[in-house]
Amino acid sequence: MKKIVILGAGTAGTIVANRFKRILDFNQWQVTLVDPDPVHYYQPGFLFIPFRMYSEKDVIKPKRDFIEPPLRLIQSKVEAIDADHNRVHLADGTVLPYDFLIIATGVDIHPEETPGMLDGEWGKSIHSFYTLPTSQALRDVLRTWKGGRLVVNVVDNPIKCPVAPLEFIMLSDWYFHQQGMRDRVEIIYATPLSGAFTKPVASQLLGELLESKNIKVEPDFMIERVDPEAKKIVSYDEREIEYDLLVTIPLNKGADVIGKSGLGNELNLVPVDPYTLRAKAHPNIFVLGDASDAPASKAGATAHFSIDLFTEHFLDYVETGELPPYFDGHANCFIETGFGKGLMIDFNYTQEPLPGRYPLPGIGPLTLLQESEFNHWGKLMFRWMYWHILLRGMELPLSATMSMAGKWKV
């Protein structure tokens, strides 16, 4: 009996487990998932909670709904990964030996890494929306907020869902309009990037969009500390931005156990070959989803595309020990732009996001890098597809590698 252990039963862990269920012979294979949390979170939904577009029930379901026999699910914390001896130690003392290990422990926010962030004002004038409790706390504050200066700050990259801060800002703009108070709110986006986004074409187009919405971008802002009493953030080059309400995307780091087990870089991300997602140091460890250092978007779409391709090649790899460079870094994301509209970007390791059309079989083309109401509905429809199709390991009619069809060369 060959054993696969999957650490983390979030988006990537659950999808890959259900893919294994389809391709493996369970008389010969055993697949075990380990996760301390019994709840599965639809993380893209956290963005909508502060604006009361979604509530808790829209974004949580029991993990057991998606992981059924012959898959095994152990609810436990992982104490250590002993990669030299191919085994995992759990918090309760259980030892799980493996032939192949899948690390899918993702990344989490670490507000404690920024001095001042947790010193008395966390949950009061300093908020986030990257977890369910933080998004709910922000919702409660926005409900009674009288206006002032809203500062949205990304501490450092990489972050989960790199477009979420922009979406949050544009949805805020819409929300404050709806509340009849936009004229009493100033919105500032302080980012460590040199513009609204990483890649030039998208950065320019998104930058223009923000400007048209009267949102100010403070580029190259690398935060050193928060001064919670004076209500200001201070950058390493001593720029200061005062706020009435700070929404932060704290430092994102991989799981502590990755660092503790000596498998991670300075952010507890596992170094991998970006084209196969195999750990550089261990040929029987693969890192799927957000937990690796691959320079792909940390997003569910990326996890989904890469896992489609990983499972296609896995059995060949078991047999021959060889892997082609199957993954091109393909990601696509809906970006909510407010007022019931959205846009979409589609890109990979080498091709930056471009404007154009994205072909979606059976439904019709989505507009790339241009606002449309259809993209907004696409995003909302995606929640249904996530719970009912994606997590269960079923195929979506989307190509896992990026295509240039429909994109405009600029």
Partner: protein, 105 residues
């Protein structure tokens, strides 16, 4: 791929002016690129960071992140911002003839 002449040498650069072939780099190019970035004189501290980044990139195939530079050189983030104002990781990568550091996306 566009090219440009820096310190008398023709080198390949990308759309944002980052050199694409680290082997075409030399110290004269670094001095010239530093001036373009507003750094008039490269001190021994600057060179310590540049050399670390060159070594790190040749070992890992990519320019190091800010966190990797601070842990690798022992120079604090604050000092790095004083040496290479605004975005130290990006600025050093440019001066050291390395590609643009991989950010988010």
């Amino acid at each position: 791929m566009p090219t440009r002449v820096i310190a008398g040498k023709t080198v390949e650069v990308d759309a944002e002016g980052f050199m694409t072939n680290p082997n075409e780099w030399n110290e004269e190019i670094a001095v010239e690129l530093a001036k373009e970035e507003g750094i008039n004189e490269l001190t021994p501290e600057h060179w310590k960071v540049i050399n670390f980044c060159r070594q790190s990139a040749s070992a890992n195939g990519k320019a190091p992140t800010l966190r990797a530079i601070t842990s690798g050189t022992g120079i604090s983030t604050k000092e790095l911002f004083a040496l290479f104002p605004k975005g130290p990781a990006k600025k050093v990568a440019k001066i050291a003839g390395l590609g643009k550091p991989e950010g988010c996306v």
